[in-house]
Each structure stands twice: as structure tokens, then as C-alpha cells.
Amino acid sequence: MRTAKLGAPRRGFRWARLREDAIRWVTRRHRADGFEATVTRDRVYILPTRQGYLLLATIVVMLVGSINYANNMAFLLTFLIVGIGHNAMWYTHRNLLGLQVRVLPVAPAFAGDAQVLRLRLEETAGRPREALRLQQGQREGSPVHVEAGGTTTIEVALEPRPRGRHGLARQRLFSGHPLGLLVAWTWLTLDTEVLVYPRPIAAGSPLPMAPASTTDGTVTAPAAVPEPDLDGIRAYRPGDAPNRIVWKAVARSGRLLVRETGGGGGPPVWLDWAQVIGPDPEFRLSVLCQAVLTAAAGERPFGLRLPGVELPPAAGPEHRERCLRALALFEAPTS
């Protein structure tokens, strides 16, 4: 279902596709999980590992030796190891069974930066779970454990993705506990939004933007960081940055008050797609991304104008996120 989202297999392309088809065939009966899932019996798969097959070979050699030498003690030891291996199957299966998994929001990142998928594991069956690992695509996370009745977070680094909004590829929660002879796993189709902002161009350098096209008489000076203007104080509005709260005034008045800068004193800054010099839409987005970051660090409100999208001037972290999201989701007009 989400084949296209899997990382491209590097080698053995044909095998990878066959494998993918097989997994799809096996998991076709499971519905997509959404935000949370419970590892039920019908979705736990188990197979021997390479070490498991090695032990099997050991057992066969020991058995043949026992038969040949008609050695009852050798029979006993061989069958004891058979018993241990057999019970390991049960242990491994139960190590996964009954876990409740919930996907945590994936923090957005700039293209090329690491993103981590975190799942919340909740143990409700009353037995400790060991050596649980999470895999997504080619990446595997490090093992975690959960105490009986406890919770923990398991994580795996996501494969790097281009700018845009993505879903999650199928995850594989697996464990070889206790003896590593078998691996039990479950395929999770937990989904959450993975947002990748454009990669900002290097900070500090002058932005390749033309000081042009002021349609409504406002100045466009993206690179200039305006001086803070301390003349006005107004009531707090949701979205105002916490560092702009004037605590002394709050203590006096009992109301949340923030410093008013830019709004009245400085005119809003417009960051406009049309201003950016460069033919490549991705490059333009990278420039705008850096511009948004610079502007957000300043005090003046700023607006973002993209073909088909216009975000009116505002300030504060929420506005910053909104702008970055707009950049992430922007579809360049094909012309």
C-alpha cells in the first residue's frame, strides 16, 4: 500500500520487489493502523534467525552422534537443547504479544536534517519485555525494554526525505529475545505526518532577493534586522512569543501584556516568491526559508507571499511554523 514510500532498495532490486509483494500479500488482511495499534496474535510473525539455523545444525549433529554412540546422556542433552530452542519460540512470541503502540508526532525538520520516529510502547499484560527494536525501511533502532505494566519510547531514525509532507512507511517492530534463535515481528502501519521544510540556504550571506514590487507601500527589507522598538505595550494575543511578555507590566496590571514592536512602529515585511532571484523553485524556497527564519528571529511582523498562497503579516512562533509549513507544502507552478 505504501510501497512508493519505502526507501529505494540499493541492490537486489528484483528480490526487494518480490519481498515487498510477499509482505503485502501477507499483510493484506490487516487494516491500516492510524495512530495506535495493539500487537495481537494475528499479526505476530516468527521465523528462525541465522543463529537459530546454526543451533538446528548443532542439534542434528548431536543427535546423529547420540544415535551412533547409543549414548543416552547425549540424547538427554540434545533433547534438552531442543526443548530450550522450542520454548524460545514461545518466549519470543510472547515478548511482542499484547504490546500497545502509539505513534508520537514526528518533529518537522529541514530537508537533510535527521528526523526520528518515536513510538510509545505500553505494556499491559504484566510481563517485562526485552530487547524490542524498531525498523523502518533500511534503518533499525537500538533495543529498548519495558517493565511489566510500564511504558517506554522506542525510536528509529527516519530515512532522509525531500521537502514536502510525507506519511510513514510500514514499520517493523521486532525482537529476538531471549536467545536470538528466532525473531518475532509485527508490521505496523502507524501513520503520522512527516513534514520536511526546505533546506535554508546558509545563514549570514546576503539573500539573493530584489528589493522590488511593493504593492501596498510597505518596505521589503528581508535581510535587515530591525531595531527593537519599545514604545508600545498591548494585550497578549495567542501566538505572541513568550519572550515578548512584559512581566513587570503583568505584575502591575494582572493582565498579560506584550511589547508591541513592528505592528505600529515598523511596517510589516513581505517575503515574496517573486522577489527571489533564481530559476530553480527549490532554490527559491530555500532562500525564502532562510528569510523566514531571519525574519522570525526579528521583531517585525512579516508576511509570506507565494504563487497562490498568501500569509498576512504576523509575528510569533506559530506564524513561523505556518510559513515554514507553507514552504514545505508549496507545489511549484508548472510553466
Binding site: T58, G65, L80, Y91, G126, H145, P178
Partner: protein, 684 residues
């Protein structure tokens, strides 16, 4: 076994979880080999462990690939030089140990540790080539436990406390035991080896000698090691009847008796029971390895056990030397139907006395012959009467015999034990013209009440004679019974009771507590060994067939085997599932919460189950609004629920509120089940 690759020897090895445990577990697994392997193998294993520890302590690199190749080649050559081969049990085991040792020096990854651990299981199983005692079995459990704990640690993903590892590994081991038992009993057994001969040369086995010279058995008399353990079907015969016949000796050279090697197995000697009542006893015997071929059989063996043959002189010989403990079943019977007469060759052989031996004995025999005429029986009695009276003494510390042994014993020292009397008696008979031969074997023994088996020690070795009487055949005559009847009646301990000097193990009283405890431990150990031998080691295709037959199944039919496996494993699975269900962890829940859930289940019929987020009062209010008849009961319920959960109540108050909960539950039940009675529903 040794993985040779391009070594990245530039960095010290990364710390691996489980490596320390491996370094402890492997030497433990290899320890029982220390008694069997040449010293250099032991040193190599210890050296490898020490080397690996040193590498970690010094943070140095692992040896480079070429060093490992040289070491492996060197160790292989050393093995070949020592054993002349790389195969077979001893050389193969040595090679295995050497390779495991070298592997320790080049462990780089988790996978290497796992390979070493699997080799460790081999190290444990090869122990059984050399020793199959119950002690080794218990020790292997410890080794397996350690190896499994190491495997657990390797895959734990973090460092686990030792106690937790030990517990987890122990639990896994215990849980594997039922499966082990089922497979052990039901896995199809094949008779005989698949290749080669599994026999292995053993040294230093004790047992009866093929040559009897007075004084020989004395070495065995101090030996308290077990020779034979016997379990009887039915009651055990009296001690005086238990003659365990092993070797028959007809040829006498004047000093020593030699075992008959050239007796055909065809014609069976005629034997007579004398005055004894006939016996018919079936028994199962476990024989300690004796390095010889004889099987001690209760007189007289009706047939030879499998793998052995019954000779004409009632000796039972095995085809191969007995190098391992074996078990066999025998039946003793007294009367041999239609026995042939003594042939002339046999008669001459049983009468032969070397020229010039025992002149005084011959005179004595001649005297009896003239006195009693043709009456052989009377001559036998005369000799026994002679021995029964002074100055003949029975003693375990016989003076040494000089010159002509028989004459010196009969007329000068006149003190000795079974073999002196048996030998002298046989010579006397031959001198009198009565065919005679000497038999060695075991007699007496100790009845182990706890295990209900007879334990015959090497010290119970005994010698007696047989004489040929024309009307009756070969008759057993035990001169010891004449001189020391207590020896025959009560076994060796009878001698001690009669006031003779005896080794500790024959004395049952008057011992220092330490000696008494040692003996008690020895008895206990013998019992455990016996149980182990009889119950476990002796399990073979034959016993498996018997086991299947007990359930009306045929062990040779794979369908029956499959059925048995399915039934037992199915039963085991059900048992395990049942136990897991019984022992499942329950979320602790107070009665109030449980009552709330029950209420929710009841009201579900009205489509009014409690939502997970609803508290008891909210829920009560919601349901009460929909069904006003229930409102007051539900309000009371919510109040009681809140009180029980959050208030600090006395026992009486608790009981009152609990009653309120039950009352509301009852009302809800009536209300939901019988809508026609709603109007009459009692409201609290």
C-alpha cells in the same frame, strides 16, 4: 571452526555483552575433560582464557590473522602428533577443545560468541564419551545453564544483572525438561551404531582374574567398589543360594588355576542341585565394566543374554570385552534336562594333577579312598569334615604359602579363605579320583533396602568348587560353607559378626561417626548410581518397545510413534497453556471498581455501557436521566463507589457500602432482565 578473514587489527576489540560470561562458561563446560585430556590441551584452554582476559586488561589488539592461522595449524599438528589421528573420540574431543580455545582469541562480534557457545554445547556432550555418571549429568546441567545464560546476555540488548540472567536461564532449563523427557522416551531409537565402533579402550578396570592363585582374591577383598547390581523379579533368593558364577577353571598347574578357554558351547554340563530346593529366579543385573568378557550369572543360567553365549560349563561370555556398564537379564534354573555324561576327555582333564605335586595331599586322599571304597560322596564329606574342625581357620589375613602350595596349606598353615579352601579341596578330590574344578564369581552381597536391589562389591568375590558325582553330575561344593558358614549365610559382614577382622565397610557397628557417615554416603551414592543406570542409561530400543507396548502401541510403527508424540506434546501444550492462564498476572482491582464494571455490563442491555472517561457519578446521572426508575439506586451506588474508593472507612462502613453496591447490582439485573417487573422494581 576458526573463521579467518582480513582482520581489522588496528583497534582493540569492542566490549561485547556476554563475553565475560562466555569466558567463565566455557572453562566450566570443559572442566570434566581435564581428567581425560593430555595436559597441553588443558593448558591451551586455560592459556586462551587468560590471553583473552589479558587483551582486555591491556586494551591491546586481538592477534592478527596470520598468528591465528599459525596457532591453529600448530594446535592441529600437536593433536595429530599426540593421537596419530584427528578423528575418533579422544582426538576429536581434543581438537574440539583446542579450536574452542583458539576461537576465544578471535571473538570480534556477537556472532562469534554465539558460535563459541554452540561449540560449548559440543564440549558438554563430548564429556559423555568418557563419563556417564549421575554426577556428570548434574554437572552438565550447570554447564548448560551457564551457556544458556550467556546466550541470553548476548541478545539482551543491555547488561542484565547476573541474578536475573541466572534465574531466566534456570527457568528456561526447567521448562525444557518435560520436552526432553518426552523426546527421550518417544524418539525412535535405532539399535546399533551408524558407523564405526563406539567401543573405547578403558584402563584400570577391576574384576575377577582369569587365573586363580591363592592370594589373588585377597586384593579384591579390600575393594569396596560395586561390581554388580541386581534387581530381582519377585523375592530375592536366600543369600546362601546366591552363587554368581563367572569363571570356570579346570586346568591346574600345581600353583594356579586357569580359566577354560576352549569349551564348546554345544553340550551343556549336567549339574545337580544336591539337597537344595530348585529355584527359578529372573533378574536384571547391571555390571560395572571389568575389561573381560564374563557375565556373572546366578547359578545356573537358563539362557545367555543377548550378545553373549552360554558355554557348556555354564560360563556366560560376552562377544566383546565389557568396557562400559552393561545391563542384562538372566533367569536362573536348577535342573538341566537330559544332561550328557562326562566325556572321557573332560573327565581326564578334570582329574589331571601335575606330576609330583602335593604328595602329602595324595596320601591323604588315598587314605580316604581305601576307607570309603567307591563312595565318592563319603570322600567329599570327609574332606568337608576335615575343614570344619580345628586346626583349620578361616581368615582374610592368610599366611603366605611356600613350596608346594596345597601341601603347605593343608598340613602347615591351615589358615586361609575361600580360594585356599577351594583350591585345596579340588586338589584333594582329584587326588582321590573325583573330577573337580574351581569356580569363581560373587557370593553374598548387600541388600539395599531403599532401592530394593542387591549390591555386590568386588570384595564379594568368591571361589568354590564343583565335583562330578556319576549319578548327579557336577555338584557344587563350597568348602567355605564348611569352615565359615557365616560367610555364606550372611555374606562378608557375617565374618565380622563372627569376630573376625574386616574392612570398615563390612562392619555395621562400632565405627567412628566419620567412617559411618562415609559408608552411609557411599550407600546413598550407590543407590543414586543404580537408579541412574537402571532408569536412564539402560534405556534402549528394547525398553522403548516395552514402554510402547504398555500402552498397546508398537514402537516400530511410525504411525504409533507419531501418535504418541502428538498426544504427549498436545497434553504438554494444554498443560502449559492452562498454567499460563492460571498464573497470568491480574490487574489489582478493588471491589468497588469491579462492581462498577459489572453494572456497566448489565446496563449494556439497555445500550448504556459506561464510557471509559465517565466517572461513577457521571455515569449514574446519565443512566438515571434515561431511566428515572433506577435513578435513586444509581445515585446510592455512585455514592457508595466514591466512599469505598476514596474515603477512609471502618470495616463496618466498608461492609455497608459494599452491600449498597450489591443491592444496586441486583436491581439493575432485575430491571434489565425482566422488563415486565420494572414497575415493581424495588428502589432503594
Amino acid at each position: 571452526m576458526i573463521r579467518i578473514g582480513i582482520t581489522r587489527a588496528s583497534a582493540p576489540p569492542a566490549p561485547l555483552p556476554g563475553l565475560w560470561l562466555l569466558l567463565a562458561a566455557l572453562p566450566v563446560a570443559a572442566l570434566p575433560h581435564a581428567w581425560e585430556q593430555p595436559l597441553w590441551v588443558i593448558l591451551l584452554v586455560l592459556g586462551a582464557v587468560a590471553g583473552r582476559l589479558w587483551i582486555h586488561a591491556q586494551h591491546t589488539r586481538l592477534p592478527a590473522a596470520w598468528v591465528m592461522i599459525l596457532l591453529a595449524l600448530g594446535a592441529g599438528a600437536l593433536t595429530f602428533n599426540h593421537f596419530g589421528t584427528w578423528f575418533g573420540q579422544e582426538a576429536g574431543t581434543a581438537l574440539l577443545l583446542v579450536m574452542v580455545a583458539l576461537k576465544l582469541l578471535e571473538i570480534r562480534s556477537e556472532r562469534d560468541i554465539v558460535v563459541s557457545l554452540l561449540l560449548g554445547y559440543f564440549v558438554v556432550v563430548t564429556t559423555y564419551f568418557f563419563n556417564q555418571s549421575i554426577g556428570i549429568a548434574a554437572y552438565s546441567l550447570v554447564s548448560t545453564w551457564l551457556l544458556t545464560a550467556t546466550l541470553l546476555q548476548v541478545h539482551a540488548g543491555r547488561r542484565l544483572p547476573l541474578a536475573r540472567l541466572a534465574r531466566a536461564s534456570g527457568v528456561m532449563l526447567l521448562q525444557a525438561l518435560p520436552i526432553m523427557l518426552i523426546l527421550f522416551l518417544l524418539f525412535p531409537r535405532l539399535p546399533g551404531p551408524l558407523w564405526g565402533s563406539p567401543e573405547r579402550e578403558r584402563t584400570a578396570q577391576t574384576g575377577l582374574s582369569e587365573r586363580l592363585e591363592p592370594g589373588d582374591i585377597a586384593q579384591l577383598l579390600e575393594n569396596e567398589a560395586t561390581a554388580l547390581r541386581v534387581r530381582f523379579e519377585g523375592p530375592a533368593p536366600a543369600s546362601s543360594r546366591q552363587y554368581w558364577r563367572a569363571l570356570v577353571m579346570t586346568d591346574f598347574d600345581g600353583r594356579a588355576w586357569r580359566v577354560d578357554h576352549d569349551r564348546p558351547s554345544g553340550a551343556i554340563d549336567r549339574v545337580g542341585g544336591g539337597t537344595d530346593a530348585p529355584i527359578d529366579v529372573t533378574y536384571t543385573a547391571t555390571l560395572e565394566p571389568n575389561g573381560a568378557r564374563y557375565l556373572p550369572m546366578l547359578e545356573f543360567a537358563a539362557a545367555a543374554p543377548a550378545g553373549a553365549e552360554l558355554l557348556g560349563n555354564h560360563q556366560v561370555l560376552r562377544r566383546h570385552r565389557i568396557e562400559q556398564r552393561i545391563q542384562y537379564t538372566g533367569t536362573a534354573q536348577w535342573v538341566i534336562p537330559e544332561p550328557p555324561p562326562l566325556g572321557p576327555t573332560e573327565r581326564a582333564r578334570a582329574l589331571a594333577l601335575p606330576e609330583g605335586t602335593a604328595p602329602r595331599t595324595r596320601i591323604q586322599a588315598g587314605l580316604w579312598r581305601t576307607l570309603h571304597g567307591d563312595d565318592d560322596r563319603a570322600i567329599v564329606d570327609a574332606a568337608l569334615t576335615l575343614f570344619a574342625a580345628a586346626p583349620f581357620r578361616y581368615t582374610l589375613r592368610a599366611p603366605p604359602l611356600l613350596r608346594d602350595r596345597t601341601d603347605h596349606f593343608l598340613f602347615e598353615t591351615q589358615a586361609g579363605y575361600c580360594e585356599h579352601y577351594a583350591s585345596a579341596f579340588a586338589v584333594l578330590m582329584r587326588a582321590a579320583g573325583i573330577p573337580a574344578r574351581v569356580i569363581t564369581g560373587y557370593q553374598g552381597g548387600q541388600w539395599m533396602d531403599t532401592g530394593r536391589y542387591l549390591r555386590l562389591r568386588q570384595a564379594d568375590a568368591h571361589a568354590w568348587t564343583e565335583v562330578w558325582l556319576d549319578e548327579q553330575g557336577w555338584i557344587r561344593v563350597d568348602p567355605t560353607a564348611a569352615i565359615a558358614p557365616e560367610r555364606i549365610e550372611w555374606g562378608l559382614s557375617g565374618l565380622f559378626d563372627a569376630g573376625m577382622e574386616a574392612p570398615d565397610f563390612l562392619r555395621r557397628s562400632g565405627l567412628a561417626w566419620s567412617a559411618a557417615w562415609r559408608l552411609r554416603l557411599s550407600d546413598w551414592h550407590d543407590l543414586m548410581t543404580y537408579r541412574w543406570e537402571y532408569g536412564v542409561l539402560a534405556f534402549d530400543p528394547e525398553r522403548q518397545r516395552e514402554l510402547f507396548a504398555r500402552f498397546g502401541l508398537d514402537a516400530t510403527d511410525w504411525k504409533n510413534v507419531l501418535l504418541a508424540l502428538l498426544v504427549t506434546f498436545g497434553g504438554l501444550g494444554l498443560l502449559a497453556a492452562g498454567l499460563a492462564w492460571l498464573l497470568r498476572p491480574r490487574r489489582p482491582q478493588d471491589p468497588a471498581q469491579r462492581a462498577l464494571e459489572r453494572l456497566s455490563r448489565r446496563l449494556q442491555r439497555l445500550g448504556l455501557a459506561r464510557q471509559p472517561h465517565e466517572s461513577a457519578p457521571h455515569y449514574a446521572a446519565r443512566v438515571g436521566a434515561a431511566h428515572p426508575e433506577l435513578a435513586s439506586a444509581l445515585t446510592a451506588f455512585a455514592e457508595a463507589h466514591t466512599q469505598l474508593r476514596y474515603a477512609n472507612l471502618s470495616a463496618i462502613e466498608q461492609a455497608q457500602f459494599a452491600q449498597q453496591l450489591a443491592h444496586t447490582l441486583h436491581i439493575a439485573r432485575v430491571y434489565t432482565r425482566w422488563p415486565q417487573r420494572r414497575s415493581a422494581a424495588p428502589c432503594a
